[in-house]
Every structure is written in C-alpha cells, then in structure tokens.
C-alpha cells in the first residue's frame, strides 16, 4: 500500500516536472509546425486578412519558380566549395596540432577564436579585408604578382568569398571535434600498426586513424552539411543575395519571401522543404553513425 502511494505521488510529481517543458514544446514546436504545414496550403499573406486554400499550388510553384532553382543551385555550389575545406582542412590541422607538445593549447585557442566571435561583426571585417579597391587581401595579391579579385561584385566569385569566410569561422569548431575523436584513439593501436610495418605517417593514417575516426568524421560531415545549408548571416550583412541574385541562398530566399515580401504561404512551403533536407541529413547520420559513441 505504502509503495503504491509513493508510486502515485512520484507519478504526480513527474507530470508536474515535465509540465512546463511540455507546454512550451507544444507552443514552440508542435503547433507552429502544424501551422507551417497548413499555411503552406494557403495563399496567406500578412498584409491581407483574406486567404484561400490553394492545395499544393505553393509546392508546384516552388518547382517552377526560377528563384527557387537559383537559390538551390547557389546553395549546392556553395556547399561544394565549403564542405571539402571544412572537413579536410580541419582534420589536417587537428592531426598536426595533436602531435604538438608545447604549443598545443596556444594553437587550439588561436584556431578556435573565430568560432566564438560574432560572425555578423566579423563579416564587416572580412568585407574590408576583401574590399576590391584597398582591401588587404587584394593588396597582398598584387604585391606577390597576382591579379586583384572583385570578391563581392563578381557573380562567379561571390559564393567563393562567402565560403572562405564560412571556412574561417567553422574550421576551429570542426578541429575541436576531430581532436576529441583523435584523443580517444588508443595509443597501443599505433604501436601495433608500427609492429606490422605501418611506419609512414600516411600508413598510420589510413590503417589506424581514419577507421577509428569514422563516427567523428560522420558527425562532422553531417553537422557541416547542415551548417552549409543554413548560410544566412554573411549573406544578410554583406551581399543581400547580390550581385544579381548570385548569392541568394536557400535560407535567405525563404527569409525574403516570408519577411520582406510577406508571401507567408509560399515561404511556409520553402520552410518545409528546408526541414525535409535537414531530416535527410539527420537520417543519414542516424543510419551510418555508431549510436554508442559519446562526444
């Protein structure tokens, strides 16, 4: 009797403890997601109270909309530039730093510094460094005999410029994740590999480091892909999608449609498409990564 009384009191307490979080999850996640879906079936705009259900017209429009395919192309092209660097450079730096003895923590701090900085503020600095006229980068290029680059004014280059800034801001983050993965590899595996004749650093890398780093590598790849798809801050501050929509990436287009043009219905459809992509990445991670790995 006493036990069940205690049990009941505990259950009541449990409900009390989860109540605030549950209500907020409903209000902040569940209800809005339902409304995004319903909204994506209407032609709702904030400026007028009249709206009608239009079925899947917004989705149809999406695939005919030139702005949509343009934004998708831009985002993929940007990701293609960003992802290899975000992965390989971070990994190389992590391996190099791990072998350092006295300078390890200094280097860790220096490489990590951009991660904590405010990207919106640092974007202004990068725009000055990349200034086509008197920027430090172009002046340096000229000094060593290379051509000056129109970093933000050239349609073919603007995504490269944004990718460089993103790389700068994310390398320290991925490096720290890789370092955590590298530190977890048991030393005796390297000794065993050395006995087997794996002396060359590349041998060690492919026989021990890379297989052992699998889950970390997967995690970095997935989070970096999501980061790539979420590119927004530098576009909003530096290019506003320009020149001539060459840097109008997906999230920025969804933002424009929703909060500049107030095409809420269409923007809702774009948001759900965006969520679909994020789910896809999450699914890939869940399928391929080892669930037991803790970071």
């Amino acid at each position: 009797m006493a036990v069940s009384k205690l049990q009941r009191a505990q259950t009541r307490l449990a409900y009390l403890l989860v109540l605030p979080a549950t209500l907020l999850i409903l209000a902040i996640y569940i209800v809005p997601i339902i409304f995004v879906f319903l909204g994506s079936l209407t032609d709702y705009t904030l400026v007028s109270d009249h709206y009608a259900f239009v079925g899947f017209e917004n989705y149809q429009k999406m695939f005919e909309d030139e702005a949509f395919s343009n934004a998708l192309n831009n985002t993929f092209f940007y990701a293609l530039l960003f992802l290899p660097g975000a992965f390989i450079i971070s990994l190389v730096i992590a391996i190099a730093i791990q072998e350092q003895k006295q300078f390890r923590s200094v280097l860790e701090v220096l490489y990590f510094l951009p991660v904590t900085s405010t990207l919106a503020a640092m974007a202004l600095v990068w725009s000055a460094l990349m200034d086509s006229g008197q920027g430090v980068i172009n002046n340096t290029l000229q000094t060593i005999g290379l051509a000056r680059v129109n970093w933000f004014g050239n349609e073919d280059i603007v995504l490269v410029s944004l990718a460089i800034i993103s790389l700068w801001s994310v390398i320290g983050f991925n490096m720290v994740l890789f370092l955590a993965g590298l530190t977890a590899i048991p030393k005796n595996l390297y000794e065993a590999a050395a006995i087997d004749g794996a002396d060359h650093p590349l041998d060690k890398f492919f026989r021990v480091t890379w297989p052992m780093l699998g889950p970390t590598a997967m995690f970095v790849a997935v989070t970096s892909s999501i980061t790539a798809f979420k590119l927004f801050d530098t576009v909003a501050i530096l290019t506003q999608g320009g020149p001539d929509r060459a840097s109008e990436v997906f999230l920025y287009l969804a933002f424009l449609e929703g909060f500049e043009y107030f095409n809420m219905g269409y923007s809702a459809a774009l948001s759900l498409f965006f969520l679909g992509i994020i789910f896809l990445f999450a699914l890939v991670q869940a399928l391929f990564s080892d669930r037991n790995v803790q970071y």
Partner: protein, 291 residues
Amino acid sequence: MADISSPPAVPTWFDRIKPKSVGRFVTTVLLFLGAWIMVFPFIWMISSSLKPTDEVYDADFSLIPRTFKGFENYYAVIFDQPYLIFLMNSMIVCTGILVIQLLTAIPAAYALAKLKFRGSTILFGTVIAAITIPINVTSIPLYIGLVRVGLLDTYFAMMFPFIVSVFAIFLFRQFFRSFPDSIIRAARVDGFSEIEIILRLILPAAVPAIAAFSVFSFVAHWNDLYWPLIVVQSQDKMTATLSMMQYQSMFDTDYGRTYASATVVTAPMVIAFLFARRLFIRGITMTGVKG
C-alpha cells in the same frame, strides 16, 4: 679494410638534426602561419578601430595607427551611440533565455531520466524529433502569433522561441541517467523529497553538463542574427549583433568607429572564451551542435 683508412665518422651538427624533428619544426611553423590567418581579422579589426577613417583603407597598411583615434572612436561608440543599450539588450535576452531554459529543462530531464510515468516515451520521442527543427522553419507562425498578440519588438518576443531547449532536455537526461539509482533510493529512504534529491544530489553532480550547456546557449544567442532581425523593430530593443546590420551598406560611415563598434560587439564572447577556454571547448565537444 677500408675502416682503417677512413676516420670514424664524427657526428656533425647536421647529423644530429633528425629528419623527424625537421618535419615537426616545419609543421609547427605552418600551424602558426595558419593561426596568423585565423587571428588576423581580429588584429585588423582592433587596429582599425584605433584609426581615423582615412587611415583604415590606406594603401600602405600598418598595424599601429599613425594617428591614434582609439579614444574618440570607442568613446563615440559607447557614449554617443546606443551601444550600451544594445549590449544590455543582448545580455538581458541571453540571460533570460538561459535561465528559463535551465528551469524548464532540468526538472523535465530528471523526470525523463529517473521517474516512471505514462507518456514518457512519447515525450522523449518528441524531444528528439524537435531537436532537428531549426528556428528558420517555425519562424513564420511564431512571428504571426507574436504579431497577433501585439508582442512584436519586446524582450518576450526575442526570447520566446528559445525558452525551452529540447537539446538541453536531451543532454541533461543522458547525464542524469548515469546517476546511480541506489543513491536516489537511499536518499528517499532517508526522507529526501524528490525536489530535495534534484537540488541536493543531482544538480551538484550535473554541474559540468549545465556549465557546458550554458556556455553553448549564451554564445549561440549572443551571436544570433536571424531571429532578432525578424522581431526587433526599434532601436530600444536592438541587440548588439543585430546592430551590425546598420553597416549593411557601408556608405558614408566613419570606418574607425564602425570597427570600434564591431570590436565592442564581438569582444564579450571572445573575452569570455579566453577566460573559460576549457569550458568552451568542453561545451562544444559535449554538445557538438552549433547555432
């Protein structure tokens, strides 16, 4: 018998340098070169924040300003421009978000980790699913809702989407689960109430996880541009990060002062990082999520 004629090899300084240590030296130099690139934007920013406008884009760039305008630039940013208000707004919003996140997540995580109740599986499943939903997806209904209730451009609007962190619930639940049940049972026998168990046993043990999450949350919301851009309309509510949008089109601005304000905006998080390095790095590796 060649050994006899040739003298024994005297090790020269050259032989003493092993190829391995040469390689290591080159790696170290390259790493510091890379680090210089990472840090250079900060150095350039601080240097420019101390210069008069015409010197910022001077063709022969020097790190040390020829005319020192640092005092004027920073004075203007902090006292003539409303940067104190912007910084305070950021502080209020980030602190408010964090406090409510902890107040809602810790009890829920404890219940999910240690108490039995119907619906716990559904709740936990919802938490996991919600982790993947970024603010960019729910922003439209949240915005419309805030417009309808007339709360746009308030601290409430700026904090609301973030006051429950499904990620914190998940993280703390994992952490609490590893707390030994035997100790909790013993405490119950000793007459501890569940609230006392949370406050006096679980919380002290969970300090590392809570600290790591706090750092992560504070940095993420300090640096957030997206949501403030949507709900903030007036200068009174502008956050430090959002204020950078004013320089979107850089025409007709005082450049020295611009970079003084950029320094002021990014300094709090960078300084906090330099002081609490371990905590920041643990926050990243433990949470592994950014923004």
